[in-house]
Amino acid sequence: MTKVLTDARSIRIKGRSFLAVVLSPDLPVDEWLTRLDDLASRSAGFFLGRPVVLDVTDLEINRTQLMELIGELSNRNVSIMGIEGARPSILGPGMPPALKGGRPVSDEAVAKEPIIELRNSDVKPAAPEARAVLQSLVIREPVRSGQSVIFPEGDVTVIGSVASGAEIIAGGSVHIYGALRGRAMAGSIGNTAARIFCRKLEAELVAIDGIYKMAEDMAPGLRGQPVQCWLEGEAIMAETLI
């Protein structure tokens, strides 16, 4: 059957590029999902409404496992718009389309707005410079008990104290120009080089790249002192600053 085209207008097809977040899981997938849940719990809504591409290059999984993985992600409200690096044999009908030719972009472009989640939406720290490739968050007032500053994109600097019951979670280093009485977590998305600096250490907990130290594990001599903490292997080291 042939249709007679009466409308002279053509269909417009255009190319356009968009920015997507790429997730690259590793094996075993269960453990990777656990780590993802952990990250999501610290920055809820990170994936919400964002285009996400699943990069399965060099990942040894079959079609069934891939289907399961996509299902698990969709249960977590992560909807996959495309799959990159998949062997044609593991793709099938009903799956997101295969993508290729993706180019890496700077982190800054992905996270246009920093994810700062203050549990009571308490203070709204100044938005960081959008142009900087490495981002910094500067908070010019004390962080109060019950407030939580989550900034996976880079360093957090607090000009003031961090109260008992408050927490700072940074992707990079944490700098506190005041007393640290609450919790500080640096390198929260896997940065072993991140450090924690404070003018007065009275912390409840310090953590770098998931390795943590409670108040009672810290050397008593450091209490009340200006201190920096860093990671050496699996141990948090700390020493007084001059």
């Binding site: 308490d122 203070v123 109060r144 019950g146 407030q147 003031g160 104290s161 019951g165």
Partner: protein, 271 residues
Amino acid sequence: MGKVIVVTSGKGGVGKTTSTAALGAALAQRNERVVVVDFDVGLRNLDLVMGAERRVVYDLINVIQGEAKLSQALIRDKRLETLFLLPASQTRDKNNLTAEGVERVITELKRVFDWVICDSPAGIESGATHAMRHADVAVVVTNPEVSSVRDSDRIIGLLDAKTVKAERGERMEKHLLLTRYDASRAERGDMLKVDDVLEILSIPLLGIIPESMDVLRASNLGSPVTLADARSAPAMAYFDAARRLAGEALPITIPGEKRGIFDKIFGRKAA
């Protein structure tokens, strides 16, 4: 337009109601028109501390629900012409406190009074947020004791987030009122020092109220301490705090110490 003050603390039992009554009476004794408003719906006590518990006809909830006019619910103090109380409801559910209703009442009160002092309930729930919402100034009542200091810190965070002023991006004026300060315990080193509390909370100090039997006596009698015994140590401290609220710059004296805090900071002797 009057100024709206919220007296808040997070923690219960630190002296919010006592301080509301004492500051309210102190300001009214300067011939300024003052209303003290009880936001503790279901657990009202400001009427008792003010000695007006037998005279409550209508309350804040009645006014919000449109069952009474504001003028009918206001109770004039028997001792001070310019001091009024707007009591909370003892029997109604606190969910009757609506955002629009509170805003309307506060706006109306601001038009008539020089000072609208809101006595917040303890906690950080709706009652406390309603009480702080329209404040121009917050008086954070704190005891020199760890749990009170931490709760105050939490409340200061909320003041910077959940008030109309904060939402407009304006700076919320916050003052610390240190209550139940025991000079002898401080001397023995069994109590947080004033400087420690100030350093932790980093807001300016409005006053230090010494722990005193006079405060208890005053509430037994149903009279703000600034009225019951104006020459007592806590009353004098409240009078000074009220003067500072009104904008006067007065040096602060730590009870039990001869020298003012400023002398102490500069390390100078009186002579």
